[in-house]
Amino acid sequence: MRGVMWRSPAWLVLLAAAWLTAGCGDGRSSVQRAADQGILVLGNNQEPMSLDPHKATAVADGKIIACLLEGLVRPDAAVDGAVHPGMAERWEHNEAADEWVFHLREAQWSDGHPVRAEDFVYAYHRLLHPQFGGKYAEMLYPLKNAAAFNRGELPWEAVGVQARDARTLVLRLESPMPQLPQLLLHYTWSPVPAHVVESLGGMLDRRSLWTKLPHQVGNGAYVLESHRFNEALTVRANPRYWRAGELRNRGVRFLPIVNGYTETRMFWDGKLHITNNVPPELLAAARRRAPQAYCQDAYYCSIFYRLNTRRPPLDDVRVRRALSLAIDRRELVERVVRGAGSPSFAFTPPGAGYAGVVLPEAAQTQEQRVAEARRLLSEAGYPGGKGFPSPEIMTTSRDVQRLMAETIQSMWQQVLGVHAEIRACEWTAYKAAQQSGDYDISSSSWSGDFLDPATFVELWRSSGGNNCTGWGSTECDAALAEAAAAADAGVRRAALQRAEELMLRAQPIIPLYGSERTYLKDPAVQGWFPLLLDNHPLDAVQVGGRG
């Protein structure tokens, strides 16, 4: 014991010495040092699950994959929905828009191999392969017979993808799709280096090391430089990238910061250029402290409650409508979410030239809605909430979701005299309960994969896996089928709108608000603009004085 005590002053002296040397090194923050090296430091929400476009599903994964792999097209840095040529130099489609031909440019993988049309074919084959278990295989279902192949019903040869020659890729689709280029921006449509995947275990090896160091090979603006779990993932400029000269930084470091409070503190301490998320409670303070750093962008994401229409009393549309009308969305957004959203009575957020559905209640005052809600509830047999069985609101353990549930519970109690329970669930238990329909009311959100209303409205197909409400209608399904078959963009949008309106009137969900992203951005960062899909091409972002 005495020995240990003796050592203590020595340890303190050592600590102090280290402190001084580190403290006096240079008074600059880590972002300034990173900026000098041309490195952008970015909060990325969580540790990526995979960098393989065929295994990844998380938003955090997608942001990194977009750096490492480039698809046929690439997004614009500032304009939503604008599409630039990527690996494809140019493309054309037939009149029905169900056969597309892409002409690839001369490009190289980061190991010097040429990028060939076969790499795309190989990639789609891999993701759709019945033995591979691609979680996002559905993204490729627009390809002809892709779904059937994925289920093991048809051979690969039947699928509508073909490399006509090394630099010509032909895609044949199930149905007309004038919006195809929007879909192609998603990472599931990226090519993979067939020669590398083959040399490291082959197409069907889910444990393949091809996206890990030192094997990682890509055709994107960056290549993987280092990766330590839960610490940082760094990519650096790929000298073989076809636009290598246009890159405005030399690399990006992704920090998997789970805790929004920690992330915000790190930003103030100069550890990040751009954060992922400011928690609602800190919004006002952040806005005050640094108005030029605070960003609030519209996001292609909808927050809503799923109602289990198989369970009484939620099987009664009047009850569902009463519950929906009784919620004061403006209060909810302003006071609970602290303004990080826009109140909504429709499901699909505005964007992509979709007018959206405007229901009559959207124009009413809250008093009118409340009166209507009370009337509907008593019509359904629960005047003043008497005899109403208490349904359960299921939420995840996230603070915002819990607060929202508590607010809505209180609103229902005050307005309708209806009592609801709240069940906060651990993450996987929540997903399991929702997907198996084992809930009454489920606090949900949906974000679009691509900029097109179909990514939202398609959800409510009666056979749709993510519907989960037990609701379905033949009219809605018919409208969706009509939209899918339409080659004309106007006809298609109108059909989608009709489908959404049918769904909203039946109210299997309670739309609450369109989510907005709140984050902090170093004012010195240039080339970062609000994007609905949050799919910023990071090569266009400039940090510090030079590019």
């Binding site: 409070y261 928690p279 409670e281 800190l282 006002a284 303070a285 209060e331 302003e334 006071r335 609970v336 208490s390 353990s397 603070d399 819990r402 607060l403 549930a405 508590e406 607010t407 519970q409 209180s410 609103m411 005050q414 009592h419 329970e421 709240i422 069940r423 906060a424 669930c425 651990e426 238990a429």
Partner: protein, 313 residues
């Protein structure tokens, strides 16, 4: 060397007298009673608001006559939430103390006293339970007793005529109590066992044994009183931990159900907002700390009073 041959009840009577003389302990006892009284009785009075009634027009308000502690992030009266939360937390604390003391003490005593194979088996069981991931265990527990606890709710509602809203928060705590019961006693059992090992070799135990006393008598009359110091110290250490564990669990759907509060959940929510509204953290934390401090002094007093060695002081 040890003097605990007196009759059991005289030991307790002495202890009571000594405790009554300890001013810090009595003050703490009074304070504890006051806090418990406030939490359990005050909400029955008309002066305390409904803790779950949100008022979005009055979010995070400062202290006022109407809201002595101000309001929380949904405009609910913080005083009411602290008082109602106290009920849950005090209950958790009580259960945790009882379980840790009874199970831990008895288990450790037996293990240490028996020694040999029995001891090894019992202590290795503790090792296994210690290393099992707590959350997994609690979730599995709560799933398996979800149905019984729901039935209990229904039964209580039917039998007593209380409203479901007032019964559910309590029966909802059942999984938590089971979890505490299952795991709250491990560390104490280890400590007690070590000390029992030490004590059983001492002269007074040998003397007791040679007098032909039964094992149970030796264990509980002669060894256990010597362990009270450790038990009290450890319990005052463990209770805050358990109360806070409750808050962690309520965030994954176990323990107290939202919108009900406990000191743990209030402190957790307050910690998230400490930069913007510190009072949301300070008030519940104050109650929490005062209660535990009082518990601590009371525990020390209790220990001094019961400790056979302090008898001649």
């Amino acid at each position: 060397m040890k003097r605990c041959y007196e009759e059991g009840h005289s030991l307790w009577r002495d202890a009571r007298r000594r405790l009554a003389r300890n001013r810090a302990a009595m003050g703490s006892l009074l304070l504890l009673l006051l806090v418990a009284g406030a939490c359990f009785l005050l909400p029955l009075s008309p002066w305390v608001a409904n803790p779950n009634e949100a008022n979005l027009d009055n979010i995070a308000a400062a202290c006022s006559w109407e809201h002595p502690f101000g309001t929380d992030q949904l405009g609910r009266d913080l005083l009411a939430r602290v008082l109602y939360g106290g009920r849950i937390s005090l209950l958790v604390g009580l259960v945790a103390t009882l379980v840790a003391t009874l199970v831990g003490l008895v288990y450790g005593l037996i293990s240490g006293y028996a020694g040999g194979r029995t001891d090894a088996l019992m202590m290795r069981t503790v090792d296994v339970l210690f290393a099992l991931p707590f959350i997994v265990l609690v979730v599995v527990f709560s799933l398996s007793i979800e149905e019984p606890s729901r039935e209990l709710t229904e039964y209580l509602v039917a039998a007593t005529g209380w409203s479901r809203e007032s019964v559910a928060p309590l029966t909802g705590l059942l999984p938590l109590f089971v979890a505490i019961g299952a795991l709250g006693w491990l560390t104490l059992a280890r400590m007690v066992r070590t000390q029992t090992l030490e004590l059983k070799g001492q002269e007074f135990v040998l003397a007791a044994r040679s007098l032909g006393l039964s094992h149970a008598a030796i264990l509980f009359r002669h060894i256990a009183p010597n362990l009270l110091g450790t038990v009290v110290v450890y319990t005052t250490l463990a209770v805050p931990g358990m109360m806070l564990t409750e808050s962690t669990l309520s965030f994954i759907g176990l323990g107290v159900r939202p919108p009900n509060s406990s000191w743990g959940t209030l402190i957790k929510e307050g910690a998230d907002r400490m930069e913007v509204s510190p009072e949301l953290l300070i008030f519940p934390a104050l109650f929490f700390c005062i209660t535990l401090l009082a518990l601590n002094f009371l525990g020390d007093g209790l220990r001094d009073a019961i400790d056979p060695r302090s008898a001649k002081d």
